[in-house]
Subunit: 200 residues, 2 copies
């Protein structure tokens, strides 16, 4: 229980960075979230399931990916501490997901059920405001990625990635990074070799 409080406190601190809440509101919000720990490689969502929760990573790392018809993995999202992770399409429409959401490291997540978050939207407008800001920022970040995919070549995209997300390069295996950048893992390996030559 003590541990859970720490994680919930991490969540509310995170929310308070963006919007103001009274202590009473903090308590209500906190009471509607639940803490859950997830083992490395464990799935918290698999294709066919409906996403019922918004999830905040308190600790560890996760990824969202799917398989195409050739069984190739494509990574939609990577996340570490203080990031939100979900298949938002499945969550918003309550339809079966095509995604895997998987722990990359042992992780702790803090989650809220759909019914409860909708209750919070009604009772506490600041929560709606918070998720508006989150969604707008996530949209902007995804636009940046979309534009890079359209306008930057693979080598430069890799360089930008390791520059912008140093942390991610250490914590996610190469084949996952390749599938995030939209290239074959062997090709990423070639780019890494080129990069180490460029540096020397």
């Amino acid at each position: 229980m003590k541990d859970n409080d720490i994680y919930k406190h991490q969540l509310t601190s995170h929310i308070l960075e963006s919007v103001h809440l009274s202590q009473a509101e903090i308590d209500i919000v906190s009471s509607k979230f639940e803490v859950r720990s997830v083992k490395k490689r464990e799935f918290i969502l698999e294709p066919g399931q409906v996403s019922k929760h918004m999830r905040f990573i308190a600790n560890g790392s996760m990824r969202v990916y799917l398989l195409d018809e050739n069984s190739h993995e494509h990574t939609l999202q990577l996340g570490i501490e203080n990031w939100w992770v979900n298949d938002l399409l499945s969550f918003l429409t309550q339809s079966p997901s095509r995604m895997y959401v998987q722990a990359v490291e042992n992780s702790t997540i803090v989650q809220i059920h759909r019914v409860n978050i909708e209750m919070l939207y009604e009772k506490i407008p600041a929560i709606s405001d918070f998720f508006r800001q989150k969604a707008q920022n996530a949209y902007v970040a995804l636009q940046k990625r979309t534009l890079e995919n359209l306008s930057v070549d693979s080598y430069q995209r890799y360089i930008n990635f390791i520059t912008d997300y140093k942390e991610f390069e250490r914590r996610f295996p190469q084949y996952i990074i390749a599938s995030y950048l939209g290239m074959a893992p062997e090709f990423l390996s070639h780019l890494r070799k080129k990069n180490s030559k460029d540096l020397s």
Copy 2:
């Protein structure tokens, strides 16, 4: 003035599809928006400028794009009636844009200044709620596009595009669609030829 009222009514109807507002609230919202008409090829945002407005297309069509270092255009967003169009990064951070936002057809937009929308967020929580929903849906749509770019080949991406957005194929020139799909216009032309053969 009569015309303006029609366009504002179109906007408020659009908002009311997602959230509830009292008549008094509708009047406040309506009073903070302004109607503006834009000629074909005219820019409402250019690189270096800061986006000061959220903009709703009442009529016509627009696109958001940028130029890379080889002066190639890359289209981030296409929009027609009842779509919102902006460089959200520039708008949210009030920093200079890298984007062009241009009318593709003669268009009418209904826009609200940043200062006024923030006032509405405070006074009328349903407006924050509305834009939360819009941002979440836009994020989901952009994820879909990201996944298609990662996992579907060019030909199929073109087929999916003309299937999902019939309207767009009619109203936007090929070179813009090519720059949206992430391919050279000549290559799109090859795909179109292949498609017409496949159909016969």
